[in-house]
Amino acid sequence: MSTLDPLRLLREPWNASEGNQSNITAGASGGWCQGLDIPNELFLALGLVSLVENLLVVAAILKNRNLHSPTYYFICCLAVSDMLVSISNLAEMLFMLLLEHGVLVMRPSIVRHMDNVIDMLICSSVVSSLSFLGVIAVDRYITIFYALRYHSIMTLQRAVVTMASIWLASTVSSTILITYYQSNTILLCLISFFLFMLVLMLVLYIHMFALARHHLHSISSQQKPPTAHRSGSLKGAVTLTILLGVFFICWGPFFFHLILIVTCPTNPFCACFFSYFNLFLILIICNSVIDPLIYAFRSQELRRTLREVVMCSW
C-alpha cells in the first residue's frame, strides 16, 4: 500500500511511480541539493504574526459599521483565509511537536486522518486566499470603471453569494485534490487556476493604473507647475509593483514547483528545485503576513478602527 501523502508527494515527486518505501543511507544522497532547512521556530513565529494581524483586521472590520460594505467584506474574507493558512500551519506544527515528544500518542490510521485533514485545510485556505485576491481586484476595477453603478452591480446579496461560493469551491476542490493527489490533472487544474488569477490581476491592475496615470497626466497638463504629476504616478507605480510583486514572489515559487512536478518530476535539475519546498511554504505564509499590510491597512478608516481596537484591548 502506498503511504505517500499529498504534500510529501509534492516534495519528492520521483517516488510517485514507485510508491515504495525503500531507503538508503544519508551518505549516498547527501551530495545533491541540500535544500534549505527552515527552522520550526520560523514557521511558528510567522504563523503567529499572521494570525494576530488577520484577527485584528477581522475585528476592525466587524467593529466599524462604516466598513460593512462589499469591498471590506472581501478584504475581511481575505484576512480569514490568510488566518486559516496560518492556523493550519500552526496546527501542523503543534501536531508534529506533540507527536515528536510523545505527548500525543495516536494510532497510525488516526495520524493519517489528521494529516489529510490538515492538508485539506491548507489547500482550501490557499485556494480561497488566491480567489479573494482576484475578487478584490475585480471589486476595485468595478469601483473605478463603473463607479456610479457600483452599488447596483455589487449588491450585498451578490457579494455574499460570491463569498459563499468561493468558500464552497475551495473546500470542494481541496477535498478532490487531497483525494486524488496522485493525478496530474489535479495539479494542472491548480496551476491553471493560479495562472488565471495572475493574468486577471495583471490586466485589471494595469488597466486601473493606466486610468490613474491618464488622470494625473490630464491634471498636470492643465496646471502651470507640474507638481503632483510625477510623485502621484510614481506612488501609483510603487503601489502596483508592491501588490503584483508580492503576489509573484510569494505564490510564484510554489506554483512553479507544481509546474515542474507535472513537466519534469525525475529530472535532477528539477529535483534540486524540489528540495526548497519548505521555503515555498514559508513564502506562502509570508504572503498571509504581508496581505493585511497591503490590502487592509491601506484604508485610513480601517487603521483608525484598528487603533481603537488595540487601545481598547490594552
Partner: protein, 206 residues
C-alpha cells in the same frame, strides 16, 4: 510541512512493522533520478528561477515608472473639441448635484467641493452656449435617457475634473449609507461618475 514527512515515516514504520515506536530520519531512494554526467550546474534551475523572478519584478516596476514619465501632450489639444461634441449630447441638471453632494459630502474635502462647483459652473456655461441646439427644460430636469453612457464620456469629464487636484484622501466611499435608493432616486450625472473613478483610482493606487 516537514511534520508531514515525519508523520508519514512513523505511519509507514508502524504499518510495516509492529515493533516499538522508533523515529528514523530516512532519506528516500533517488531511484529514477540519475546524477551522472551532468554538464550544467545543479543549482541552475533554482538560481535561474529566482534571478528571473527578481528581474521580472524590477522590470515591471521600471515599465510602470516609465509609463508615468511618458505621455502624449497632443492628446489634450484634441480633447476640447471632443468635449464640445460630447457636451452637445448630454443634459444634466445642475441643481441636482448639490443633493448628490449631500450624499457624498461626508467623504468630500472642502476644497473639492468648491472646485466641484467650479466644474459644474463651467459645464453650465458651456451648456448655455449650446442652448439653441436643445429644447426647453435643459437645466431643470435630468434626462437620463439622453445621457449616453459610453466610455468616450470619460474624456470630456476628465477634462473638467482635471482642473483641480484630486485630493488624495482615503475614504469609505462605498459604505453602507450609500444605499441603492440614493443612486436610483437622484442619479448623479456622468460627471460624478468620473469623479468617483478619479477618487477611487487615487485611493487605491496612492
Amino acid at each position: 510541512m516537514s511534520a508531514l514527512r515525519l508523520i508519514s515515516n512513523r505511519t509507514s514504520q508502524q504499518a510495516l512493522s509492529n515493533s516499538d515506536y522508533t523515529w528514523d530520519y530516512e532519506y528516500y531512494e533517488y531511484g529514477p533520478v540519475s546524477f551522472e554526467g551532468l554538464k550544467a550546474h545543479k543549482y541552475s534551475i533554482v538560481i535561474g528561477f529566482w534571478v528571473g523572478l527578481a528581474v521580472f519584478v524590477i522590470f515591471m516596476f521600471f515599465v510602470l515608472t516609465l509609463l508615468t514619465k511618458t505621455g502624449a501632450p497632443h492628446q489634450d489639444n484634441a480633447e476640447p473639441s471632443e468635449k464640445r461634441f460630447h457636451m452637445n449630447s448630454f443634459v444634466t441638471d445642475f441643481g441636482r448635484p448639490l443633493e448628490s453632494e449631500r450624499v457624498f459630502s461626508r467623504q468630500m474635502a472642502e476644497e473639492s467641493q468648491s472646485l466641484f462647483h467650479f466644474c459644474i459652473n463651467e459645464v453650465e456655461h458651456m451648456n448655455k452656449a449650446k442652448e439653441s441646439h436643445k429644447g426647453p427644460g435643459l437645466e431643470s430636469n435630468i434626462h437620463f435617457q439622453e445621457v449616453p453612457r459610453s466610455s468616450g464620456m470619460f474624456e470630456e469629464d476628465l477634462h473638467c475634473l482635471t482642473k483641480f487636484n484630486i485630493p488624495n484622501f482615503v475614504n469609505t466611499e462605498q459604505n453602507s449609507s450609500l444605499g441603492e435608493d440614493d443612486l436610483l432616486i437622484s442619479e448623479p450625472p456622468i460627471i460624478l461618475e468620473s469623479k468617483l473613478a478619479t477618487q477611487s483610482s487615487h485611493r487605491i493606487l496612492d
